[in-house]
């Protein structure tokens, strides 16, 4: 699989990472290299194989639907770069 510059830019946009023109060129080769390398998996016949969804065969645990945590708004916003009262402050989203 050859990853071109347009694809690199599209992926970077999806991943919300800004990349420079120079970086995009470097990543083109790097990502192509890695994707070519993983393509050896095509040799493996997986037609009748189920994908692995868990490593140990355990039932997903359930708990009673009760509040067992909370009232820690101070803790929740403690590490935020910008806070007002108990709100996270972000650039204006809606005009």
């Amino acid at each position: 699989m050859r990853v071109d510059e347009t694809t690199v830019r599209r992926i970077a946009r999806l991943a919300r990472i800004k990349i420079s023109n120079e970086e995009a060129k470097g990543l083109e080769a790097e990502l192509s290299g890695i994707l070519n390398w993983v393509e050896q998996l095509d040799e493996v016949d997986t037609l009748a194989v189920e994908p692995m969804t868990r490593v140990v065969p355990i039932e997903l645990k359930k708990r009673t639907d009760v509040i067992n945590d909370g009232d820690i708004a101070d803790d929740v916003v403690k590490n935020a770069p910008m806070v007002e009262d108990h709100y996270f402050v972000v650039p204006k989203v809606v005009e």
Partner: protein
């Protein structure tokens, strides 16, 4: 330097209980050792001496009153991937900035509740992505090991390179570590230490910065097999806060060590004899086989046919899960924020500035393989290959109890030797990664030295939740091979700093003790 730091966990525990030494004396010896040795090694990114001494005081009280807990007074290091209440936690990334959790990881809490003392936070590859500790925002860790007659810097392995270097250099008795593709076992092999990745679900992942959730497991790095057994028993637990943690009793691994390996069936997989494997690794493997045989085990040739596909499948699954896990670093709720024109621009600026090169590379690969139209071809395919890898082991367990392989394809390498080629670095994990893909336990135990005089390790792989057998088999190898300690303690003499600004950084970090926001910053150091 004091002899106290050279003790093993088992020896220190005996001395504390016999009152030959106090927890405070022992802790001070390590604080001094860190102060003297860390500028050259860069193993700790944040020493916490005040916190350690406070914990030691409590331990001394309990040792006196007889209310002694299992790890009472034993000073340990804690990988900076484990959240620590009130102490800065960075995953060695700029993006977490001076994030200071208000909670403790379950594994950490288990250790401190058992009486262990935290000496500080240990360096690692950024978000545990790396095999040489060279991707850390705090700069690389220098291995205490050197090639015979040489002084060029070697890597301590990764991602738990701070843990492996600190244990090998006697800056702590033992350390926490995490393993997603080999990050406990590979650094253990490269530094002559013992490291075990337990079965997926044995240790809680709660409070550990997530990399690839279906692969991540915590485990100890220690000087001996016995020490690793002591630590794992304390770290492991069922935790309702991690739905993948398993409700199964944690046995007394230490008590089982003396049971030996008589009659144990050891499998030797032919697929691990890879192209380009060095002769000395092959020789080491043969020695390991001979040692286990001499101790009463039987040796069986086995086949794990899908071994070669584990690494490429891993480099789909791990980046995919990482790209999803790391989506949370958006500059809004915690960590770094680099403002932009609007919200999306802020996200993009923050993530470009906060993530290092390897992390960005993996997020992009992960985003690509999960993107519309590619999911089936990559992620689903890799998860199917994973089923086949697990099936290989299920088949093997019908005829053997453990599997013996080398831990790494080659001994420790120098700084920068593999950084230019991502795939060359990824190949470091070729023998360890299958274990994560199948969710099995694996231990690396030191078994010899390379021609260059640097350590080499052997890996034992076990059945799910059969860590006890792994410890027993590892003990047999340790008994035969002996322990490997660094011959020359050059870092104690105020050796060359790991990088130019390292000493200043450590001093800062020490002063702040991680409690204020004024601690050392990972910035300008990548």
């Amino acid at each position: 330097m004091t002899e106290l730091t050279k003790l093993t966990i088992a020896e220190a525990r005996d001395k504390l209980r016999k009152k030959d030494v106090s927890a405070t004396e022992l802790t001070r010896a390590f604080i001094d050792a860190i102060e003297a040795g860390n500028p050259a090694l860069n193993a700790f990114v944040l020493p916490t001496p005040e916190l350690a001494l406070a914990q030691a005081k409590e331990s001394d009280k309990r040792l006196k009153s007889g209310d002694t807990r299992p790890l009472e007074g034993l000073p340990l290091g804690n990988k900076d991937l484990f959240c620590t209440a009130g102490v800065r936690t960075t995953a060695c990334s700029k993006i977490l900035d001076d994030f200071t959790p208000t909670y403790e990881s379950t594994v950490g809490a288990n250790l401190w509740n058992a009486g262990a003392i935290m000496l500080g936070k240990l360096n690692c590859d950024e978000f545990a992505m790396g095999s040489s500790n060279e991707t850390s925002a705090f700069g690389p860790v220098v291995s205490p090991w050197r090639r015979k007659g040489k002084s060029d810097k070697l890597v301590p392995g990764g991602s738990s390179g701070g843990s492996s270097a600190a244990v090998a250099a006697d800056l702590c008795l033992g350390a926490t570590a995490t393993d997603t593709g080999g990050s406990i076992r590979q650094p253990a092999a490269l530094t002559g230490t013992v490291g075990i990745k337990p079965t997926y679900g044995r240790c809680s992942r709660w409070g550990i910065v997530a990399f690839a959730s279906s692969l991540d497991q915590a485990g100890p790095l220690a000087k001996t097999v016995r020490d690793a057994a002591i630590m794992l028993r304390a770290m492991a637990s069922h935790d309702p806060k991690d739905s993948t943690s398993v409700e199964t009793p944690v046995p007394d691994y230490e008590a089982a060590l003396s049971q030996g390996v008589k009659g144990l069936r050891v499998g030797v997989p032919k697929e691990y004899r890879v192209e380009g494997m060095s002769k000395e690794i092959d020789k080491l493997w043969q020695e390991g086989i001979a040692w286990l045989k001499a101790a009463g085990a039987t040796i069986h040739d086995i086949s794990l046919p899908h071994t070669k596909y584990a690494l490429p499948a891993y480099y789909i699954v791990a980046p995919a899960e990482a790209s999803s896990n790391l989506a949370r670093y958006d500059g809004v709720r915690y960590g770094l924020r680099v403002p932009g024109e609007d919200l999306i621009d802020t996200y993009e600026n923050t993530r470009a500035a906060g993530f290092g090169k390897e992390v960005r590379r993996r997020i992009l690969i992960g985003t690509y393989v999960l993107s519309a139209g590619y999911y089936d071809a990559y992620y689903l395919k890799a998860q199917k290959v994973r089923t086949l890898i697990k099936r290989d082991f299920d088949e093997a367990w019908k005829s053997v109890d453990v599997v013996l392989t080398p831990t790494t394809p080659s001994p420790a390498f120098g700084f920068g030797e593999k950084t230019g080629d991502p795939i060359a670095m990824y190949l470091e994990d070729i023998f360890t990664v299958t274990v994560n893909m199948a969710g099995l336990p694996g231990i690396s135990v030191p078994a010899g030295l390379s021609r260059e005089g640097t350590p080499l390790g052997l890996q034992l792989i076990g059945k799910p939740f059969d860590e006890g057998t792994l410890f027993r088999a590892a003990q047999a190898i340790e008994d035969a091979a002996g322990r490997f300690v660094v011959p020359e303690r050059w870092w104690e003499a105020g050796g060359q700093p790991a990088s130019a600004s390292a000493p200043a950084k450590s001093a800062n970090a020490k002063k702040s003790d991680g409690k204020s926001k004024a601690g050392s910053k990972p910035n300008e150091r990548a």
